[in-house]
Amino acid sequence: MNTSVSRSTIRSPRRADRTETQRHVSKKRLATKVTIAGGALYIAYDSGLLGSSEQGSEALNRAKAAIPPAVEEWMKYFGLETPLPTMPKVEFSPVQAWNSGVRRSISSLSEAPTKATQYTNQGLQYLKDLTK
């Protein structure tokens, strides 16, 4: 008695065996997927996200302006009245600090030779006065 199961019964049904409705459903699914992907791509292109750097920064500014009111609206819709924590305003500007640091260090480097000669002259004068 042959108990081994033939491989063809275990394998999934071939394309030719699928019914017309199954093929129709798979075509519809593919069309839906292509529509969604194409729509996402079109939205990204139309809003300037894939364009030049000016268009990109404009899109970012528009998003920054649109997000807080949208978030507030959604929070009201869900009944969450607690306000979002606002960014604390920091007076310290790292750019200004860095620039002033660079300027100070370069100016001190440029003045270093003259100051060094000045101090050595003063030191020598002091020693001369001591030995007198």
Partner: protein
């Protein structure tokens, strides 16, 4: 190019880089979920492509001040004197 202009260009470059990376990531996730059975490679490919586009834009933006634009080009004419 003044320092302020250069600073603005760099700011634009960084903002553009962030936007294109995010857009690429989003589109990569969409394609990965819809067509590629939630594999990771479409996400990395699309985000990498976005970063590449941002790099190219940045490069063009920074080089644009050194290029001679079409309206500024002056034509040369060779005059031949025939006696």
């Amino acid at each position: 190019m003044s320092e302020k202009e250069l600073g603005k260009k760099w700011d634009r470059c960084l903002a553009d880089g962030a936007i294109k990376f995010g857009t690429g990531l989003g589109l990569g996730i969409v394609f990965s979920v819809l067509f590629f059975k939630r594999h990771t490679w479409p996400i990395s490919l699309c985000s990498g492509a976005g970063l590449g586009m941002a790099f190219s834009n940045c490069q063009n933006d920074l080089r644009s001040s050194y290029l001679l634009h079409r309206s500024q080009k002056v034509g040369l004419c060779n005059k031949t004197h025939s006696n």
